[in-house]
Amino acid sequence: MLNVIRIVTVVLLVGFTVSCAKRPPATTPPPPTTAAPPVTEAAPPAPPPAPTPTTTVVEDRTVVPVVPDEGVSNRPLEELNKLLKPAFFQLNSAELDDAGRAVVTSNADLMRKNQTWAITIEGHADERGTAEYNLALGERRALAVKTYLVSLGVAADRLRTVSYGKEFPFDPGHNESAWSKNRRAHFQITSK
C-alpha cells in the first residue's frame, strides 16, 4: 500500500513538472521542429511574457539543410504541403484534363526546385463508387499523375503512390460540389 502511495505521488509530481515545463509562454513562436531543449527535472518558474527570443531562429537555420529556394525549404511539412495543389478528375476517370495537367506542371516546377523532397501522390475518389473498386480507381489516378510528373522530369524514385479510395473526402458533403473536390490527386511531401 505504501509503495502504491509513493508511486502515485511520484507520478503526480512528474506530471506536474512536465505540464509546467510544456506550457509555452504566450508570446513565444512555435518551437523548432527538431531540437527541442530537454525537459529538466526542476520546473523553471513561469517566465513573464518575454520579447521574442532570437535563439530559436538561429537553431532553426542550423538544422535545416541548405537548399535555397525562395525560402520554402525552411517551412514545416504541413505548410509546404499547401504549396502543392491537388489535381481534380472527372467522374470515374483517371485521365488528367487540361486543368489537371496545368496543376501537376506547376507542382512539378516546385519539385524540381526542391530536389530533396520525397512526395507521395494520393489518389482519392468520391463517394458514388463502391468502397473496394474506389481503391483501384484512386491508385489509377495517383499512377496517372506519377507518370505525368516523370514525363516532366521529376525522378520516379522520389515519388510514391497510394490510394485512399473514398475514405478521406476533402468535402464531406453529398452533392456534386463536394464530389468534384473529392475526385483528386493530393500531394504529400513526406520528407524534405
Partner: protein
C-alpha cells in the same frame, strides 16, 4: 467431469451439478427423473434425442427470466434470458413468444410445480427455464428446455463461468439448443470485425481534416466492442482467419498501404507478409487458412495475387491492363471471385485459384458490381454490391442456377456484404440511418438488425467461430 471450452468458462454435465439441479428439481420434480443429460453437445451420445413437438409451422418458444437462486444473481437472471431470447430470435428457426407476454406466467417459485398448463394456454411449445446462482464473481447456471405438450425436459445442461461472461454463457446455451432442436449450427458466439471512426481522432500531419479509422471487433450482436489497431491512421477491410485468432487488414502509413496480420489474442508483433513493392490491399484468408488472396499495385496497376500466410509462394493470378480488385475464395479454395473493369465497368468474375485460368463473367446484366463474397458450404452463393439507380444494394448470385436476388431494396446505400459462417445471414454497411453503420440480415432479405450506432462503421467481416 469438467471441461473448459474455448471461451474460457466451464461446462459440466447435468448430473454433477447437484446443488443447482436440486433447485430445479423443486420447481419440477418430474423433469429430473428420466434423463441424465450431458451438457456438451460434443458428447451427446448420453443425451436422449428429443425434439419438441409442435402442431404449428414453427415451434413456439418462451424464455422467461432465469430464477436467481440468490438475490445478487437477479440481474444475471434477466440478462441470460434476454440474450438467449435474442439469440434464438436471430436464427429465425423458432417463433419466440414476446417476453412481456410470457412474463404474465410469473416467476418460477421454488417448491411449485412447473406450470405446464399455463404455458400451454399461452401457446408455448417449448419453455427455456433456467436457474442462476452467484458465488462472488462466479456464476453457476442450470438450463432446461421443457416440451410443454409432453411435460418433460428435452434439454438439460449446467454452465460455470465468471459473471462478466454472462452474455457468452447465454450465447453458448443458444447454440447448444439450436444444435439439439434444429440440427443447426448457431452464430451466437461469432464476432464481427469492421472499421470505425468512433474514436473521433484526427490524423496528424495533414492540413485536410481526416478521421483516423480503427479496426474494431464486436460480438455478433454488437456487444463488447474492442479496438484492435493502435496505429493512428487509416485501416481498412479486416478479414478473419478460419480459426478466428488472426485478423488481416489493410494498414496505411503516410507513404503507402500494406497488409498486416494481427494475432489478436496473443499480442505478438504484427506481421507484414506482402511487404515489398507497391501497395497491398484487401487481404482474404483461404478457407483452410494457409493462403491469403489480395490486391496489389506492385506490377503497375491493381491485380490479384495469392501468397502463403508467411508471404512465401507469391503468385500473380490476373494479368490485364484494366483493374482487378477485391478477391474472395470459393468454399473449397479452388476458385477466386473478384471485381474487374476489363469490360469497361466494375463487374464480378470467377477464375481458378491455382493459376488464374478459366476467367468467367458472372454478372453481365449489372450496371456495376463490386466486393464479391462467396458463401460457405452448403450454400454456393456469391453476395456482392450492385448499383441500383444512384446508389447501391446487396445482391446474391446463386452459382448453381445463375439467378440473382435482391437482399436490400434501396434503403440508403448498401455495400460490402459478408456472409455469416453458416451462410444463413449477411452483414453489410448501410447509410440508411444517415451515417454509415453495420447491419445484419437473413439470406432471404428478412430480419434486418442494426449492429453499430457509434460514429461511422464499414467493411465488415464475420468470424467463423
Amino acid at each position: 467431469m469438467h471441461t473448459v471450452n474455448s471461451r474460457g468458462f466451464m461446462r459440466r454435465s447435468g448430473m454433477s451439478a447437484i446443488v443447482a439441479a436440486i433447485a430445479l428439481a423443486t420447481i419440477d420434480a418430474r423433469a429430473l427423473r428420466p434423463d441424465s443429460p450431458a451438457a456438451d453437445h460434443e458428447q451427446q451420445k448420453d443425451v436422449v434425442e428429443l425434439t419438441i413437438t409442435t402442431t404449428g409451422a414453427q415451434t413456439r418458444y418462451a424464455v422467461p427470466d432465469f430464477v436467481a437462486i440468490n438475490a445478487d444473481a437477479a440481474a444475471e437472471g434477466k440478462t441470460l434470458a434476454q440474450v438467449l431470447y435474442d439469440d434464438l430470435a436471430f436464427e429465425r428457426e423458432f417463433y419466440l413468444i414476446p417476453r412481456d407476454t410470457s412474463a404474465s406466467i410469473g416467476a418460477l417459485r421454488p417448491g411449485a410445480a412447473f406450470p405446464f398448463t399455463a404455458w400451454q394456454e399461452l401457446g408455448a411449445d417449448g419453455v427455456v427455464a433456467g436457474t442462476v446462482q452467484r458465488t462472488g464473481d462466479s456464476l453457476h447456471i442450470d438450463v432446461r428446455l421443457y416440451d410443454v405438450r409432453r411435460q418433460q425436459a428435452v434439454f438439460s445442461a449446467g454452465y460455470d463461468g465468471p459473471a462478466r461472461s454472462v452474455r457468452q454463457i447465454a450465447h453458448t446455451i443458444s447454440d447448444a439448443i439450436l444444435l439439439q432442436q434444429a440440427k443447426l449450427r448457431g452464430v451466437a458466439r461469432t464476432k464481427l470485425a469492421f472499421i470505425s471512426d468512433r474514436d473521433r481522432e484526427r490524423l496528424d500531419g495533414t492540413f485536410e481534416k481526416r478521421d483516423v479509422k480503427h479496426v474494431y471487433i464486436v460480438d455478433y450482436d454488437g456487444f463488447n466492442p474492442r479496438r484492435i489497431t493502435v496505429n493512428r491512421y487509416l485501416n481498412l477491410n479486416p478479414s478473419w482467419s478460419p480459426d478466428g485468432r488472426t485478423l488481416a487488414y489493410t494498414a496505411y502509413s503516410p507513404t503507402g498501404a500494406d497488409i498486416v496480420l494481427s494475432r489478436i489474442y496473443e499480442g505478438l508483433p504484427l506481421q507484414r507478409p506482402a511487404k515489398g513493392l507497391g501497395n497491398n490491399y484487401l487481404p482474404v484468408f483461404s478457407p483452410d487458412g494457409t493462403r491469403i488472396a489480395f490486391m496489389s499495385t506492385r506490377d503497375g496497376q491493381a491485380e490479384i495475387y495469392v501468397m502463403n500466410v508467411d508471404g512465401s509462394n507469391l503468385r500473380r493470378l490476373t494479368n490485364h491492363p484494366q483493374d482487378d480488385v477485391t478477391p474472395t475464395w470459393s468454399p473449397s479454395g479452388a476458385q477466386v471471385a473478384f471485381t474487374s473493369t476489363r469490360s469497361g465497368r466494375p463487374l464480378i468474375y470467377v477464375m481458378n485459384a491455382a493459376d488464374g485460368s478459366d476467367v468467367r463473367l458472372i454478372t453481365p446484366d449489372e450496371s456495376e458490381a463490386d466486393r464479391p463474397t462467396w458463401s460457405p458450404a452448403p450454400y454456393n452463393e456469391i453476395a456482392f454490391t450492385a448499383r441500383t439507380g444512384n446508389w447501391y444494394d446487396i445482391k446474391v448470385y446463386d452459382v448453381a442456377t445463375g439467378r440473382i436476388r435482391l437482399i436490400t431494396h434501396g434503403e440508403g446505400s448498401n455495400e460490402s456484404p459478408a456472409f455469416s459462417p453458416t451462410g444463413r445471414h449477411l452483414a453489410f454497411t448501410s447509410t440508411r440511418t444517415g451515417t454509415s453503420q453495420i447491419f445484419t440480415i437473413g439470406r432471404d432479405g428478412n430480419g434486418i438488425k442494426q449492429i453499430t450506432r457509434e460514429g461511422n462503421n464499414q467493411t465488415v467481416a464475420w468470424s467463423s467461430n
